[in-house]
């Protein structure tokens, strides 16, 4: 069975991360921006899994487990903020939310 080179996985991870960056910068809907952040989390996870397999080290996979937990916490808190903002007004463009400043 031929094995896939490590650089294939890392290049794919880089592509996924770049798409996430572009999505986060271009979109103005906060929910879609959060989904772009999830894409970037997953790009990091893919790189971790590839390195864990390359170095035959389970620590990388444990790290992914921790990352998924933190991503869940981040999604919950960010969506709570979105809920707060959406209660205030029906349509939210992140460029309009500038009242956070003191």
């Amino acid at each position: 069975m031929p094995h896939i080179p490590l650089e294939n996985y890392l290049t794919l991870s880089a592509a996924l991360f770049a798409i996430g960056i572009v999505g986060f910068l271009v979109r103005r809907n906060p929910i879609t921006m959060l989904m772009a952040i999830e894409l970037m989390w997953n790009a990091g996870n893919l790189a971790f899994a590839a390195f864990a397999r390359n170095f035959i080290d389970m620590s990388g996979q444990i790290f992914i487990f921790i990352i998924i937990t933190v991503a869940a916490a981040e999604a919950a808190i960010a969506l709570a903020i979105v809920v707060m903002v959406f209660r205030r007004r029906a349509d939210v463009d992140v460029d309009d939310i500038s009242i956070l400043r003191g």
């Binding site: 094995h3 896939i4 080179p5 490590l6 650089e7 294939n8 996985y9 890392l10 290049t11 794919l12 880089a14 592509a15 996924l16 991360f17 770049a18 798409i19 996430g20 960056i21 999505g23 271009v26 979109r27 103005r28 809907n29 929910i31 879609t32 989904m35 772009a36 999830e38 894409l39 997953n42 899994a49 397999r53 390359n54 389970m58 620590s59 996979q61 444990i62 992914i64 487990f65 921790i66 998924i68 937990t69 991503a71 869940a72 916490a73 919950a76 808190i77 969506l79 709570a80 903020i81 979105v82 809920v83 707060m84 959406f86 205030r88 939210v92 463009d93 460029d95 309009d96 956070l100």
Partner: protein, 168 residues
């Protein structure tokens, strides 16, 4: 194996572009589900069985359902939010350029530094039992800290979303 990798890679990139490009958030969620499924298959090709299951159950099952609830409950109007121009008028072009520059830098770095083939792993690498033993012995402290992180998230969400009146 290599065929499976390329199929998953194409699906992964196309669904990610779909997530970013679609105007309706619900379509983005559907693209994200496809993306996570392809990533789970890629985890399987990397001998990460437990993570492939976690990816489906936790990510596609729990986190995306959270997104769907927020979309379904809050965005009642069907017209997309991003109509008209934003305050930053020319943000699309430079953003795409920044993403392409980042991709080029990362791809060149990867090609230079990590062009080596993956060695075949030992037979029990990445199995659920190995993962569990590692998680509950070597990395027990990180596991416990994870519980605290979730507790902080729960308290924060209840504090923010559960309050009656908003003052901001």
């Amino acid at each position: 194996m290599i065929v499976l990798y390329w199929i998953c890679a194409v699906v992964l990139v196309l669904s990610a572009i779909g997530v970013v490009a679609s105007r309706q958030p619900v379509h983005s969620v559907v693209g994200l589900i496809v993306n996570f499924a392809a990533l789970a298959v890629l985890f399987l090709t990397l001998n990460a069985e437990f993570l492939a299951m976690i990816q489906i159950i936790i990510y596609a099952g729990a986190i995306l359902v959270l997104f769907l609830f927020v979309i379904a409950l809050l965005t009642v109007s069907s017209e997309p939010i991003e109509r008209g121009r934003g305050k930053l008028e020319f943000q699309s072009g430079p953003s795409v350029a920044a993403g392409l520059v980042a991709l080029a830098l990362m791809a060149v770095g990867v090609r230079v530094a990590w062009s080596q083939s993956i060695k075949p792993p030992p037979p029990d690498f990445g199995s659920v039992s190995t993962f569990g033993v590692q998680l509950l012995t070597t990395h027990l402290f990180a596991f416990e800290v994870t519980a605290f992180v979730l507790l902080v998230a729960i308290v924060g969400v209840v504090l923010m979303a559960g309050r009656k009146e908003l003052r901001f």
